[in-house]
C-alpha cells in the first residue's frame, strides 16, 4: 500500500474520479431496483386495499414500518458523528469517510420520511399535518426535526462537494452529457477563489456546530414518541440517551460496511486504509460499550424491580417468545462485534466489515424489539378480541415495503457514488500537500 502523500494530484483525481459500474455494480444496482419495484407493488396493494394487507391490528399498530423508521433515523446520525464531531475535534484521518457518512445520513433520512408516510392509512391527508400542526404532539416535533435534519444533512453533503464539482466540471470529456449537465447545474459557479473558500469553510463550520444538537434532537424526539407513552418497555426517562447511543453504534457499523464495500469495488485501498478500519473499529467498540451500558440500564433495572405490568414484557424478552431475537440483538448486535473489534487483528478490513454487518443487522432487529413486544403487552388484558390481534408477524407486503425502503436507501448511496466522488478529491489533495509541507 502506498502513502497518498507521495501521489500526484492527477493520480489522486484519477483514482477518486467517479467510475462506471462494472459487472458486479450493474448486478447490484439492478438487484436493488428489482427489490424497490417489488416494494412499490406491495405499497400499491396497501393503497388499493388499505392497511388490512398488513398484519397490524388494534394492539400492534406500529409494526416493522415504525421499526424501520427508527432504524433509518438511527443510522442517519452517523453524518453528525463522522462529519461534525470528528471534524470539530480536528480529527484529520476521517476525511475519506466524511462523504460516505453524509450520503448514508441523507439516504437514511429520506427513507425515514417516506416510511412514515407508508405507515399512514390515508397518506393523501398528509398535508393536514402542515395545515393543522399540533405543536403539543411529539409526532409533530419529529416531523419538524426530520425536515430540519434533512436540509442540514443536504447542506453538509453539498458544501464540501463544491470544490470537487469544479474538478468534475473541468473534466468534461470524462463525463457523459447527463453528468456534465448535473455538475454544471450544481457547481458551475464554483471557481475556487479565496473568498469562496472562506465563505464555504465558515459555512461548513457553522453546519458542523448546528448539526450536532439537531442530530441529538432528532433521535431524542424519536425516542419520545415511545417514552411519552405510558407502556411497559417504553416508560423510561433514559430513552433519549439510549436511542442516541444506539444510533451512533449502528451508524458506526454502517460506515465500516460502506468503507469495505467502496474500498473493494472502487479499488480505494490507498485512501481507505487499514488504519481507517483500525480507528473506526475502535470507535465502534466504544459505541458498543456505551450502548451496552444503556441496554443494561434499560433492562436490568426494571427486571430487578419486576413490577407486575413489566414482568410479562420482560420475561417475553429474556426467556419467552422474543428471547431468540433479544439475545441475537444483544450478542450479534453488540457483544460479538465488540469482541472482534477489541483485537487489532479484528480491526482488519474484512473482519471489521463482518463486525459492521453484525452491528447493522442486530440494530435493525433491535428496533423491532423496541416497538413490537411492548405493543403486545398493554396494561389491560387483551379480552374478547380476535386471535390475530394477540400476535404480530409482518405480512409479505410489509416485508416487501421494508426491504424496498432499505434497497432504496442503498440505491441512493450507490447512484451517488456512481456520479460523485465518494472520497473528497479536493480535500485529499489538500491534505497531501499539507503533508508535503510538513
Amino acid at each position: 500500500m502506498n502513502n497518498v502523500s507521495s501521489f500526484s494530484s492527477e493520480k489522486i483525481t484519477a483514482d477518486l474520479y467517479p467510475k462506471k459500474f462494472g459487472t458486479s455494480g450493474r448486478i447490484w444496482t439492478i438487484g436493488l431496483i428489482i427489490i424497490c419495484i417489488i416494494g412499490a407493488y406491495a405499497y400499491y396493494r396497501q393503497l388499493r386495499y388499505g392497511l388490512v394487507v398488513t398484519e397490524m391490528r388494534d394492539y400492534v399498530s406500529w409494526g416493522i414500518y415504525i421499526s424501520n423508521f427508527v432504524f433509518f433515523v438511527a443510522i442517519s446520525l452517523v453524518g453528525s458523528l463522522i462529519t461534525a464531531v470528528l471534524r470539530l475535534a480536528n480529527v484529520r484521518w476521517s476525511t475519506p469517510l466524511t462523504r460516505i457518512a453524509e450520503i448514508i445520513a441523507v439516504s437514511a433520512i429520506v427513507f425515514a420520511s417516506l416510511i412514515i408516510i407508508v405507515d399512514m392509512g390515508r397518506p393523501e391527508r398528509f398535508y393536514n399535518l402542515a395545515l393543522h400542526p399540533r405543536i403539543q404532539s411529539p409526532i409533530m416535533w419529529d416531523v419538524v426535526v426530520i425536515s430540519t435534519y434533512f436540509v442540514i444533512s443536504m447542506l453538509l453533503l453539498y458544501l464540501p462537494l463544491l470544490p470537487d464539482l469544479q474538478i468534475l466540471n473541468s473534466n468534461k470529456n470524462k463525463n457523459s452529457g447527463f453528468q456534465n449537465r448535473i455538475y454544471k447545474f450544481l457547481g458551475s459557479f464554483w471557481k475556487g477563489t479565496v473568498e469562496q473558500f472562506k465563505i464555504a469553510n465558515r459555512s461548513i463550520l457553522i453546519l458542523c456546530i448546528s448539526i450536532i444538537p439537531v442530530a441529538f434532537t432528532i433521535h431524542t424526539v424519536t425516542s419520545w414518541l415511545f417514552a411519552t407513552t405510558y407502556r411497559p418497555g417504553w416508560d423510561s426517562t433514559n430513552f433519549g440517551a439510549y436511542f442516541i447511543s444506539g444510533a451512533f453504534l449502528v451508524g458506526g457499523g454502517a460506515v465500516l460496511v460502506a468503507m469495505y464495500m467502496f474500498r473493494r469495488h472502487y479499488q480505494l485501498e490507498n485512501y481507505i486504509t487499514d488504519k481507517h478500519f483500525d480507528r473506526m473499529g475502535k470507535i465502534v467498540v466504544l459505541l458498543a460499550l456505551l450502548y451496552l451500558y444503556f441496554n443494561i440500564n434499560e433492562y436490568l433495572v426494571p427486571a430487578f424491580k419486576m413490577k407486575k405490568p413489566e414482568e410479562e414484557h420482560l420475561r417475553g424478552l429474556f426467556s419467552g417468545k422474543f428471547a431468540l431475537l433479544f439475545w441475537f440483538c444483544i450478542l450479534v448486535g453488540m457483544i460479538f462485534p465488540m469482541t472482534i473489534l477489541l483485537f487489532k487483528k479484528g480491526r482488519r478490513p474484512y473482519l471489521a466489515f463482518i463486525a459492521g454487518v453484525m452491528v447493522v443487522v442486530g440494530a435493525w432487529f433491535k428496533r423491532y424489539l423496541i416497538v413490537t413486544p411492548t405493543l403486545l403487552h398493554p396494561f389491560l388484558p387483551m379480552q374478547d378480541v380476535p386471535e390475530s390481534y394477540k400476535h404480530y408477524f409482518p405480512s409479505w407486503e410489509e416485508w416487501a415495503i421494508a426491504m424496498g425502503s432499505l434497497a432504496g436507501a442503498l440505491l441512493i448511496i450507490t447512484l451517488f457514488a456512481r456520479y460523485f466522488p465518494i472520497i473528497p478529491i479536493h480535500e485529499t489533495v489538500l491534505e497531501k500537500n499539507e503533508h508535503k509541507d510538513i
Binding site: 399540533r134 458544501l159 465563505i199 464555504a200 448546528s210
Partner: protein, 281 residues
C-alpha cells in the same frame, strides 16, 4: 381441517334463558325488566330483538296476558305495568308474573316466572348535632295494611356518576323488627352540586320476596361544588391554538433559531454563486 368442517355443520347445543326482575322505584309504578340470553359452549350471549309475552297471576291464559314486548339491541326490555290493571293490581297483596317466548331461529321457547309481594321502601333522614343518619323502612301489603319486613339487606348509598357510594363502612344494613334499616352518614366531605345537594339512595336488590326496590331523596349534605371548565385553558391536550405558552416559546424558539441558521447558510451559497459569476464575467 376436514374434522373441523364436519363439526362445524353440527348445530351447537343451546339453552335459551329469560331473566325476569320486578322493579319499583320511589314507590311509584312498578315495572318488569326482561332480558333474553342464549347459553352455549361459547358462554352466555345476549339474544336481541326477541318477542316476550307477559302474563299476570295466571299462566298462559288469554285473559291474564298483560302485554307483549320485544327485547332491544342489548337483549333487554322494560315492561311497565299498564294503568288498566290498577284494580287487579290492588286487589291482591302478592302477584306472580309469567314471561314466555316462542321458538325462533334466534331463541328457543322459554318461560320464566317471578312472584313478589306488594311492598314499599321509604327513605328518611335523622339529624342530630353530631351525626346524620339515613333510615330506610321496608313494608309489605298484608290484607290492606302495611307491615314491616325484618331481616332484609338494604343498601344505603349516595348516587354518583358511575354508581353508588356507600354512606358508611357497611355494604348493606339489615332491617329490624320494625322494618327499619339505619346507617350513619359518614361522607362528610363528598362534593354535591352547586347547592351542595346529594342524592341518597336506598336499594333492596333482587330480593326473593319483594323484588328490586329503590327509593331516593335529595339532601343538602354535600360540599358545594362549582364546575370550572378547563376547556378554554392552555394545555398539552387542548387544540393546537391552545398549546401552553412555554411549549410554544420553546418549540418555535428552537425552530426559528435553527432555521435562521439554515436560511443564513443558504444566503451564503447564493453569495458563493454570485462571487463565481463575478469571476466568470
Amino acid at each position: 381441517m376436514v374434522m373441523a368442517q364436519g363439526d362445524s355443520t353440527k348445530k351447537p347445543a343451546r339453552e335459551s334463558i329469560i331473566y325476569l326482575q320486578y322493579h319499583l322505584e320511589n314507590n311509584r309504578l312498578p315495572y318488569l325488566k326482561i332480558q333474553t340470553k342464549n347459553k352455549s359452549d361459547n358462554g352466555i350471549v345476549t339474544a336481541t330483538n326477541i318477542p316476550v309475552t307477559v302474563y299476570l297471576d295466571t299462566d298462559l291464559s288469554k285473559e291474564a296476558m298483560v302485554g307483549q314486548i320485544a327485547t332491544d339491541n342489548t337483549g333487554t326490555a322494560i315492561f311497565g305495568i299498564p294503568p288498566s290493571l290498577a284494580s287487579q293490581w290492588k286487589g291482591k297483596s302478592a302477584h306472580t308474573f309469567y314471561a314466555h317466548t316462542d321458538a325462533s331461529p334466534a331463541f328457543d321457547a322459554a318461560s320464566k316466572e317471578v312472584s313478589v309481594a306488594m311492598a314499599r321502601l321509604k327513605l328518611d333522614t335523622v339529624r342530630t348535632d353530631e351525626t346524620k343518619s339515613v333510615v330506610a323502612t321496608l313494608e309489605k301489603n298484608d290484607g290492606g295494611s302495611w307491615v314491616p319486613i325484618p331481616e332484609v339487606d338494604v343498601k344505603l348509598a349516595v348516587r354518583r356518576y358511575g354508581g353508588n357510594v356507600n354512606i358508611g363502612d357497611d355494604d348493606t344494613y339489615a332491617t329490624d323488627s320494625t322494618g327499619k334499616a339505619t346507617g350513619e352518614f359518614l361522607l362528610s366531605s363528598l362534593p354535591g352540586n352547586k347547592q351542595g345537594t346529594l342524592e341518597l339512595v336506598a336499594l333492596v336488590d333482587d330480593n326473593d320476596e319483594v323484588g328490586t326496590l329503590e327509593s331516593s331523596m335529595m339532601v343538602p349534605w354535600g360540599t358545594i361544588y362549582e364546575y370550572k371548565s378547563d376547556f378554554g385553558k392552555r394545555s398539552l391536550w387542548s387544540t393546537p391554538r391552545r398549546a401552553p405558552l412555554w411549549l410554544i416559546v420553546m418549540a418555535y424558539g428552537c425552530i426559528i433559531s435553527v432555521w435562521s441558521v439554515i436560511i443564513y447558510l443558504i444566503t451564503r451559497i447564493i453569495k458563493i454563486k454570485k462571487l463565481g459569476k463575478a469571476v466568470r464575467t
